[in-house]
Amino acid sequence: MEFFQHILNALQFGSFYALIALGYTLVYGVLRLINFAHGDIFMVGAYIAYFVAVLLLGGEGMHGLGLSPALTLAITVPVTMILTSLVGVTLERTMYRPLRRKGADRLYVVITALMAGLMLENGNLALLGASRKSFPELMEKVVWTFGGVSVTNLKVVVIVAAIVVFVLLEFIVTKTKIGMAMRGISYDKFAIPLMGIPLDTIIVVTFILGSSMAGLAGILYAMSYPILEPYMGALIGWKAFIAAVVGGIGDIRGAIVGGFLLGFIEIGVVAVFPSTLRDLFAFSVLLGILWLKPTGLFGVAQTTKI
């Protein structure tokens, strides 16, 4: 029974890695840019969700609108996704696009992304202080127990959300015109505008998609681990990025598989060995995978990568 419990735990944590890895992979797939600020966009998403929820729900010394938790959740999800995607688009408009216009090498854009992430973290620290925020409970927690395996309704929602998001994105990228344009840009971003495809619009759409998924991950994460702090996105962001690379960065299936794989390895290592060895083992396994297949599980060899 302990085994199934570990599987469920791994599915839940893997879902977060997968949701964040999707954002890395989308932006990389289109722009060949590693958006290192993505983990912090996730953190901003969690904070936005917190403020929207507290505003609607009331409490924490604020006079909110006093809505019911269920209604609050229904409004918080879309509002957070929209606001978080605005943050992502703002980063693209103010930081990445000007550099791209000047024809800067991709390396400089990646460094800019790193700086943008640090600015988001420390901006948050300066604005809101170091004190933790406690995320309000938006969902009446139900614990189901089947023969020694416990699962909460929230865990089920998280896992289902990750799968739904994957199916949706896979559909957008492979079956729609926008998706075709996105794939086209990744092949040749100089020829695509000549075909009459608005390059900037497609890039903005990519950032909207990636950042709104980070926003969704932010809400779900804040509901599962209801303590928010400015640095919460850094480590999970790095790990999700590694998951995306192992899955084959640029490929949506890769992000999902990589995310869940990392979740399974991490939980699996802790389940068998002392928990101190978790990161050492987890990343040794991932390194092994990259050794055998340097482009990641689903990746295609490229001549230029960062």
Partner: protein, 394 residues
């Protein structure tokens, strides 16, 4: 364009140099400077805040009466606060900065052992007295004549927690979950394990699991712990992680009790943890609910001033700072030379044999560590830390 760049660089350089030049100034012979090496940001910001608030209150008390009287002359107090970000390396830098740049007479803090152990080394090497209010790990003061503390030690706290849990829960087996990267948590977990197995026999700690400081998911460790079916779980962890651990244990179907340690006792525990923490027990330095005398007076004043009941760190900082002030007074004079003054203060600190603090009476035996009582509190349905039991060293 290029010339412009050079100009900008020159201006920045000049500003930086100016800033350095300003730092050295401002030695006033009528002022006594005390440094505070606190966790103002980072993992446990409420701890640093509580310390700072308590220190500010004490400073206002003394300065409003004209200052601290040493050898018939009154000196104004100046407190310098440095943020150590709850990191070991930053605590070392903060201590060095207080010693070399701010030229403080003595340092109060860091609070957490993770920061206090390395900072204690720096203070000892630089011959500056340091008093940690909250650190309970033995290594903080071990073989360091310049380092003192106001808290009891983990070799005392571990048995207190073990004995209480055995009695209260009628427990035969225990599980432990601790932070491997935190000296305090790791040290206390090991002491507890040894103590428990000495009492209940080998193999009665059925699960001994660790996690990292930045971890937020403990489901794998807790699944192992729950499967081992312990009578209770001992969690010597910081309050922010405690909140997550208890919630996740309940998510996994665990219904048994938890036993905690003094790092639980932050004023922020209940805002983060909520109803999951109600009814749990932890060992700590003082119980705010039901306090009397000088302790109650401190709690009431703090509560009026800052709008929340002070936690143990606030009370211990009050005691630690008063220890330093008493030592400065008992030295009888203030030396102009900062090194000589530090030596005077250290010797006076080492001469204090007994000190009546608001967290209880402390008896020192020349090691820098006090003998004092611990209390065990239970979290009431209103979120108050209610006194259950007091355990004193024999």
């Amino acid at each position: 364009m290029k010339r412009m760049t050079i100009k900008v660089l020159l201006v920045v350089l000049a500003m930086a140099l100016g800033a350095f030049a300003l730092m050295g100034c401002g030695q006033d012979s009528n002022v006594i400077k005390i440094g505070f090496n606190l966790e103002l940001t980072g993992d446990i910001p409420k701890v640093g805040e509580a310390s700072k608030f308590a220190a500010e209150m004490l400073k206002e008390d003394i300065n409003s009466k004209g200052g601290l009287e040493v050898g018939g002359k009154k000196y104004k107090l100046e407190f310098v606060y440095q943020d150590n970000e709850a990191k070991a390396d930053s605590a070392v830098n903060a201590a060095l900065k207080l010693i070399t740049q701010d030229s403080v007479v003595a340092i109060v803090g860091p609070n957490s052992s993770k920061q206090a152990i390395p900072a204690g080394g720096v203070c000892n090497d630089n011959q500056t007295p340091m008093v940690s209010p909250w650190s309970t790990n033995p290594d903080t003061t071990k073989d360091r004549p310049w380092v003192f503390r106001a808290a009891f030690l983990d070799p005392f706290q571990g048995p207190v927690a073990a004995n209480f849990a055995a009695k209260q829960f009628g427990a035969k087996t225990a599980a432990v979950l601790f932070d491997i990267a935190n000296d305090y948590s790791k040290g206390l977990a090991e002491i507890f394990k040894t103590e428990w197995e000495k009492k209940a026999g080998a193999g009665t700690v059925v699960a001994f699991e660790s996690h990292g400081t930045k971890d937020q998911d403990f489901s794998a460790q807790l699944t192992k712990i729950v499967a081992a079916k312990p009578d209770f779980i001992f969690v010597p962890d910081n309050y922010n992680q405690v909140a997550l651990i208890i919630k996740q244990a309940h998510d996994l179907g665990y219904k048994g009790p938890f036993m905690g340690s003094d790092a639980w006792g932050s004023a922020e525990l209940m805002t983060l943890c909520g109803k999951d923490c109600i009814g749990q027990f932890f060992s700590t330095h003082y119980a705010a609910a039901g306090a009397q005398g000088a302790t109650k007076e401190f709690i009431d004043r703090y509560n009026t001033k800052y709008k929340y009941v002070p936690d143990d760190v606030a009370a211990l900082t009050w005691d630690a700072t008063r220890l330093v002030l008493q030592a400065i007074q008992e030295a009888g004079k203030v030396e102009k030379d900062i090194k000589a003054e530090r030596k005077l203060v250290r010797d006076a600190l080492a001469n204090i044999k007994e000190f009546a603090g608001i967290t209880g009476t402390m008896k020192f035996h020349g090691t820098g560590d006090p003998d004092k009582c611990a209390v065990v509190v239970q979290i009431s349905p209103e979120g108050k830390f209610e006194f259950k039991e007091s355990v004193c060293p024999q």
